[in-house]
Amino acid sequence: MILSFLFLTGVTGLMVLGIGRWLGEKGSIFFTLGGVWLTFFWNFFYLFPKALEKKVFLLEGPVWFQANGLEVRWTFCLDSLTILMLVVIVGISSLVHTYSIDYMKGDPHLPRFLAYLSLFTFFMTLLVSSANFLQLFVGWEGVGLCSYLLINFWFTRKQANKSGLKAMVVNRVGDIGLMLAFCLIYWKYKSLDFSVIFLMTPYMEGIPFWFGFTYLEVVAFLLLVGAVGKSAQLGLHMWLPDAMEGPTPVSALIHAATMVTAGVFLVVRCSALFESVPSVLRLVALLGGLTAFFAASTGLFQNDFKKVIAYSTCSQLGYMFLACGLSSYDGAMFHLFTHAFFKALLFLGAGGVIHSFLDEQDLRKMGGLSHYLPFTYTSIFIGSISLMGFPFLAGFYSKEWILEVVASQSFDPFYLFLYGLGVLSAFFTSFYSIRLIYLAFLSLPRSNQVYYRSVHEVPFFMGIPFFLLMICSISVGYLFKDLLIGLGTDFWNYSIHINYTNYRGVEAEFLPYWMKLIPLFFALSGAFVSYLIQSPLSMYFLFWLKEKGYGLVLFLNQKWFFDSIVNYVVRFHLKEGYSSTFKALDRGAFEWFGPTGLSRLVYWFSEKVTMLQSGYLYHYLGGMLFGVVGLIFFSLFSADESFLLVGLMVWVLWISIEER
């Protein structure tokens, strides 16, 4: 029963992918939406109460494979962490499915689109519900595949192709790290089950490994590399903004709410392992803080509507990593939870604007849309202020909590630095959110009349997700704060493990009041400054921009030149890898001695053999003669000699044919 609901989206997705062409638009909508909504209702009304009752499901399936002592089973572990993720994933997914009905209306590939979305939901379900690393990896790669297919959905566009490939290639780096981590884990633990690994971790502390690093440090670092790749943290973040080439519902579902949080989920899931390696935890925190700051500052002067939100996603993921690095896994999960709602709302709102505005995405060519799209404007506004951390909305509780946890450690200069980064990121977040709203909705219209003629408010099925997500973005922080991060909450029920020396909840709770107000102050002042330089002081701002700030703005607009630097550095290594492993080995030696060489050999040999059938009488007679002589040899001499003689004869015959 439980498994059938876990697999329902996969079944409908595969079905529609296979026979969607015959099901047609209505049929595929019926099956995929039915599957995903049923799964959501079941998750929300059956599994979620079970999580509240502190029940854990452990479903042991059949053996997947068995190799010399390693036995991998299909095991599903549904604890409160998984169930919370399931509710978020399938909830957002069902809303996005509904949204896609109208967004992709008239697209000839609608069944394929919905099927990919459903398959993505299935793989994400597999990822979060697995109880061993390899099964998690199946889901991990599956969502990567679906992400590629969906970025590349309009596959005739070159930019979409390039972005899809980029996402795939950058994610490979992280996946290599993850694979190496699995290998190392199996090396010492002799198992890949979570239950074994997390129980045995305290006994693995202090085993020396390479260059003075301990075994656990290396394992945790490699797991972190995998998480960084999937969650687009600094260094491997380049694919996420480019992934915005895909359709907007995809950006909402995959590149904002669910798939990119898989890295955070991995770190939270492996909390028992990460807790034993304080050095890697500091690295996680540093990476998170830097990513939050980098992405928020890059988002300041982006001109693409979706890229601003994409960098915002990157920045919020940085916050989640920061929380993980401070052992506040519950804070990270809470931020993941609230972020999923308001970021999905923002992306769906962006989709609504783009949909009605003749697919124009450039912020500089919009303006004045609040009069035409009041509902979309409201939804983006609510999403934005929730993202900024406006008091008592969803983002407020989670982001404030993370920053409070960091602030509670600010006696350490390292964490003080991270706190500064986090607060500045909050400032930047408000800045770009208000800039986005101002440029798109509040300023004077700056585009052609043609665009404004086509503007229309969102259709019915696009409106429903807006409405529900708006309610969630407003209320979900207040409703779930005490459940998820309240002091001493037992919701998590051992699904995440925090070392008692690392638990910072109490200190964060009893911070001085003025310290708790610092992030809020920065967020509000960011919004205020942004509004000032957009509207009343815009002339001064433009003057400053032209005279002094040009370099800075270019630097931020070009994403800190990250892509160029990476291109410059990686190009030579890629060339080397291309010419050695790919060209010389994969397409060279293995190909030559493998499939291509074999097929060519068969072709060449058959060509020679067909030359035997020349049609000339004397050739046939010669063949008969040689056959008879061969038979005589066999009857007279031993087998070896006969083979030799017959081979000799065949060779002579061969030569005579060759000469022709």
Partner: protein
């Protein structure tokens, strides 16, 4: 005596075989090579029937002779009809046996 006879038979057989495989000018020559083969074998049978004092060899001689006569008749008939059809019995042009 036996060696000479054996050599004679062997040379007749080789002439037949060589005629079969190496002649490329005329279908008639191929037929003649075939006759050579037959008669080499026939001679073999006859001589060994005398030397082994076994009547079976001579019986086979007669039998093969009959078959060879019939066969060469058929072969010549094919040759004649082929000549009527193509106006040519040059072996290099008989290459339609590819199927």
């Amino acid at each position: 005596m036996r060696t000479e006879i054996f050599l004679l038979i062997a040379s007749i057989l080789s002439i037949g075989l060589g005629g079969l495989t190496l002649f490329r000018t005329n279908l008639l020559l191929v037929l003649m090579g075939m006759e050579f083969l037959f008669f080499g074998i026939n001679l073999n049978f006859a001589i060994y029937s005398i030397s082994l004092d076994d009547l079976m060899g001579q019986l086979f001689f007669l039998y093969i002779l009959t078959v060879a006569g019939a066969e060469s008749g058929v072969g010549l008939a094919i040759l004649v009809s082929y000549y009527r059809l193509r106006g040519e019995i040059w072996l290099d042009l008989i290459n339609k046996l590819k199927g």
